[in-house]
């Protein structure tokens, strides 16, 4: 299987967010919200670092 960097990172963020949401909160609603929050943080880091590399590297 050959995924590019972006697809791989999205997949990694997804599986990590599922487990982080599952093991950290008490109710199902809190778990869902925290999982989505983690996924959002992963995405923010992905796009932030991606753009930073593009700007700094040229």
């Amino acid at each position: 299987m050959k995924l590019d960097h972006f697809e791989t990172t999205i997949l990694f963020a997804l599986v990590c967010s599922v487990i982080l949401g599952l093991v950290t909160k008490k109710t199902d609603e809190e778990r869902l919200r925290y999982g989505l929050y983690c996924f959002g943080c992963f995405m923010a880091a992905l796009f932030g670092i991606g753009w930073a590399m593009r700007i700094l590297h040229g």
Binding site: I19, L22, V23, K26
Partner: protein
């Protein structure tokens, strides 16, 4: 007991952590399943399996402890080996079936290797969660 007393909700049967932790390690999600959290156990199992299989599909090499090399390399290899091992039955099934691609250059096998380790680390998080449930520290 007063007539208007509220009866407590039935508490899921708690298991001994001594049995629970090795089982939760060997079969990801089994700890939650035994504690009556069947859906959560199923999600843990599926997530760890998908992560491991993605790593295998990307031909990620497994880590092995080495005796030669500098301290940092040995530490990375040993840490990666522990991460691989934490996947439990998936790691043993893969090695039993002869999985062991060479460590070649390229980003895809490199990501694959990290996915296999991440599967084990996610399983460790699930084991800790199952332990806390079994000791009534959380629901």
């Amino acid at each position: 007991m007063p007539a208007n007393a509220v009866t407590a909700a039935p508490i899921a049967p708690l298991r001994s952590p001594i049995l629970l932790i090795p089982l939760a390690w060997f079969v990801p999600g089994a700890g939650h399943f035994l504690l009556g959290r069947k859906w959560r156990g199923l999600i843990v199992f599926a997530t760890v399996l998908v992560t491991f299989l993605v790593g295998v599909a990307m031909r990620g090499p497994l880590f092995h402890p080495v005796d030669n090399g500098d301290v940092l390399s040995r530490l990375i290899q040993f840490g990666g080996y522990l991460g691989d091992l934490a996947s439990g039955v998936f790691y043993f099934a893969a090695t039993f079936m002869g999985y062991g691609p060479p460590d070649v250059a390229g980003y895809s096998p490199d990501y694959g290797s990290k996915f296999i380790v991440a599967a084990g680390l996610l399983n460790i998080l699930a084991i800790v969660d199952a332990y806390e449930i079994s000791t009534r520290q959380k629901d």
